[in-house]
């Protein structure tokens, strides 16, 4: 086992435990802290896979902007905590969820058994920001424009939703 694999396992375990902490921790602020760790670990994984640019984007947008928005949401809605933090699923729902998860893992294991030995390129992703920009603004120009429209609409829409008075349907 080389250093890359050890680093990958450390990142995977930390990210999975933090994601579990998001779901299972009692305090919502602590859950947000776990979310920061999980997202940062995923940024570290992107860097390990060779894309420093994606890692930087992940840290800036998820580790910065989204976390701040979520913490604002926590602060502005922290009036009353639900008594039980998680909804108890029925036995059949639990079984369905477990079956789904096991099926996913088994499918992956089967694929690994049939077409195993697929290794990532040792040099990682051949990507600098210039190459990514060329691909985005040539092949995916329409998608980028649509995305800009989506983000602008989301920003304006969220402001409109929050500022709307109760009963104001116009």
């Amino acid at each position: 086992m080389d250093l890359t694999q050890i680093t990958f396992y450390a990142i995977a375990i930390l990210a999975s435990v933090s994601a579990l902490g998001v779901v299972a921790s009692k305090d919502i602020v602590r859950a947000a802290s776990f979310l920061i760790v999980a997202l940062s670990m995923i940024a570290a994984l992107f860097a390990l896979l060779g894309s420093l640019f994606l890692s930087m984007v992940q840290l800036m947008i998820y580790g910065g902007a989204v976390i701040v928005v979520i913490l604002f949401g926590v602060m502005l809605t922290r009036r009353e905590e639900p008594k039980s933090r998680i909804r108890q699923l029925t036995r059949s729902e639990n079984l369905a969820y477990l079956g789904f998860s096991v099926l996913l893992v088994l499918t992956l294991a089967f694929l690994e058994y049939r077409i195993g030995g697929l290794y990532l390129r040792p040099e990682g992703i051949p990507a600098d920001s210039q190459a990514i920009g060329i691909v985005m603004y040539s092949q995916y120009r329409g998608v980028v424009i649509a995305l800009a429209g989506l983000v602008a609409t989301a920003g304006v829409g969220s402001i409109y939703l929050v500022k709307r008075k109760r009963g104001d349907s116009s």
């Binding site: 502005l76 697929l118 992703i125």
Partner: protein, 100 residues
């Protein structure tokens, strides 16, 4: 050397945890956090396949996914604040109607 299977398995574990969070959260903000974990598992998959094939399209798809997640997060928080204003709670079990 990392195999594709390891990264995709990690992504599956993240997806399963996020899905469990979405199914069981009573707090709307926690549900939003779980959705972020779900979207991140998709981005990990994109990055893994980009690292396997050496194509940049996976990275572009991951960047698009991150932007969509940011938009979703802002709309989600706005909806949660609206729910809090109208129903005085963010407990999803107590919110029984969609009328604003």
């Amino acid at each position: 050397m990392i195999s594709l299977f390891q990264v995709v398995l990690f992504s599956t574990v993240l997806f399963a945890i996020g899905l469990y969070g979405v199914l069981t959260s009573r707090n709307a903000v926690r549900m939003l956090m779980s959705i972020e974990i779900l979207l991140n598992s998709a981005n990990v998959n994109f990055a893994a396949y980009a690292a396997y094939t050496g194509l940049l399209q996976g990275i572009v798809a991951a960047i698009i996914g991150i932007a969509v997640a940011a938009a979703e997060s802002s709309i989600g928080i706005a909806v949660i604040l609206l729910l809090d204003k109208n129903f005085r709670t963010v407990d999803l079990d107590k919110i029984k109607e969609l009328k604003g």
